[in-house]
Every structure is written in C-alpha cells, then in structure tokens.
Symmetry: C2
Subunit: 205 residues, 2 copies
Amino acid sequence: LALPGDVRVTLRREMIAPQSGRAFVVQAGERMRVTDVQGEQVADIVAFALPDVREAISNGRTIDYNGTLRLTAGHVLYSNRGRPMLTVVADTVGRHDFTLAPCSPEMFALLHNNTDPHPSCFENLSACLAPHGIAPDAIPTAFNAFMTVEIDASGGVSVVPPTSKAGDYVELRAEMPLVAGVTACSAEQSNNNAFKPIEVTIFGA
Amino acid sequence: LALPGDVRVTLRREMIAPQSGRAFVVQAGERMRVTDVQGEQVADIVAFALPDVREAISNGRTIDYNGTLRLTAGHVLYSNRGRPMLTVVADTVGRHDFTLAPCSPEMFALLHNNTDPHPSCFENLSACLAPHGIAPDAIPTAFNAFMTVEIDASGGVSVVPPTSKAGDYVELRAEMPLVAGVTACSAEQSNNNAFKPIEVTIFGA
C-alpha cells in the first residue's frame, strides 16, 4: 500500500507456492511483510544472522524477554545470542505461535499416523536454507505466523484454524543482516485443511 | 531409594553447587534423577546426542508431539531430529517449563537492568558443555525442571516460585547415548530469591 508520505520502496515480491518454502536475504532496516493471501494459511518463519549463521532466532529468549507467548506489533524477536533480530512493526492478525516445531515427517508419523510421503515445513526450510550454509539440525522452533494454538488451564495445546483473513499480514523489520526461511505451511490441521500460497514482500530501509 | 525388588545401581551422584552447572554423559537406558535438595530451586537441563552432538533436545518438537506445555511422568522429550531423547519416568512435582531460555547476561540486563557480573545458566551450560564440542550458540531452550511459569488468558507469562519441596525430583531415562548439561539456576526470580544446590544421580540401565 503506497500511502501519502510513505516512501517505502518495494525491493522484492515473491509468491510462495502452497506447501513450499523460500529463503530471503534481508538487510538491516529492511522490512519483510508476510501476507496470508487467501486466509487461514500458516507461514513458518526462521531467521539466521549474516554472515555468521550460527546466530539464529530463539523462541526461549523471545518469550522470556517479552514476557508473553502472544507476540505482535511492538515485540522484538531475539537471537540465541540475546540480540534483537526482527521487530514486529505491523500485524493485522495478532495471533501467531512460537512454541511448536515446523511440521516434519516425524510429526506426520507420530501425530497423524501418516508415513506416506508428505511435504513438510521442516524439509522445505532445510532445502531453501541449505545454499546459505544452514544444516537441517540448525533449524530452530519457528515463529509460526497466523498459527493459532489454544492453551487450556492444564497447559494442553491444540492447533485450531488461523483467524487470518485474505490479505492479512505481519511485517518484520530486520535489526541485523539476515537470511529468513519462510514457508506456506504443509500441515492440514494448521491451515483448516486447505493449502494456500504465502506472499513475501521486502521493503527498503 | 532402594525399594524391595529395585535392582537399580547408582553409577554416579554429584552435587551441583549453587549458581553452577555440570555435564553428565548418560548411556541409553540409564536414568538421570535431578533432585531439588532444599526446595524452590530450578535446574535447567539440555541434552545432546553422542557422538553426534548436532542432535539436541527440542522444545518445539516436544511440546508439539506431547500436545502439552505441562510435561511430566510418561512424556517423551524429543530431539531436533524428532527422535525420543529422554523419557520422564518419575516426577514428584509435575511443574516444569520448556518455553524460556536459560538465564543469561542479556536476560539480567534486559529484564532486571542488571549489567553487573552475575552467574547465569547460559554461561554455566556453555562452560560445562564446551569440552564435549558444544558451542554456546548450540544451546537450545532448556527443559527447566521445577520452574513454574504461569500463563494468563492473554498469553502473558510470569515466573513464580517453584512448588518443589526439599527432596522432590524428576527422573529422566536416556533413550540414546547423550551428554546432558544441568544447572543449579542462577536467577533470583526463578528460585524465590535464594540459590541452592541441585543433586544429580545416574542409575544404571
């Protein structure tokens, strides 16, 4: 959206196909908008510092330092070195998750007794991040945009359909140069049983 | 406790001094009991597979696969490869945390405006795990035994005193050969403002 006085420059725009993933190099100060194009679609997001990709996004640091599981505009996502990595600068939804791992072959087997070949966020992140020198073992718990996880009084967690509608987005400003992996999530139960694309737009600093 | 018919053999017993940490090599089938000797003392626990320490305990996989934040006896702690790493085989407390990072210099600075030198679980884990080839960057969000984190209806998290009494313990069976880092936590607010030791006992398979 080009608002009056908004001097932001669109550097890149890319559509992530359903059940796939893409990596994006983002410079400090640039903003990455992740849009749920059709609604009710989760996007798993991980990030690694450049050039030293051993520094990565950390859910434990982020939840601790913000004092909440409900991360939204104004919150900072921290690295495993305790440094600000991404700041949530806009959020039209307000519900995301930072407690569950990307879906994986092991998850489909364990939780859904499905051992057939099935695309997964873990494999999609592994593939798109490999050219940046990031091994699958280094992929941390992701910031799962639009993923709605209910927690009951006993600590039980359940994944329910996202509240996001078509065009909803979350926008993250990079606080350091980094490479982000972003997926259009492959898990039926995270996306209300339909697989849709995710759009990523990178705006200039 | 040597109960009739209990053939367990105590292999090692070690007291972890207040505000410090120790590493323990544990073979598959062996059990590691972590005891809160005096009560209200948190122990941060991380684990890495042997000989390939790139496989490490994962809170995202564990919370997802168990469907709960409230991990206790019967639950399995999974690795970043989705394999069972540790099974909780006994638990006299029932309240632990797997969402917050080990306390660190960055945490004391950010949350408590304390930039003076202060022992931290992150530094203690880094030091005791270094001889096993584990870099500080590889330390994941820990399983925080006895740490009580309240989550309100809006997702806000607050750390309150542990409910553990003197002698309470959690016991973990190794499902693969591994090295575990265990601390007697260094954060005032996690331990009701007193620092106490933690005892670790390794029982034979």
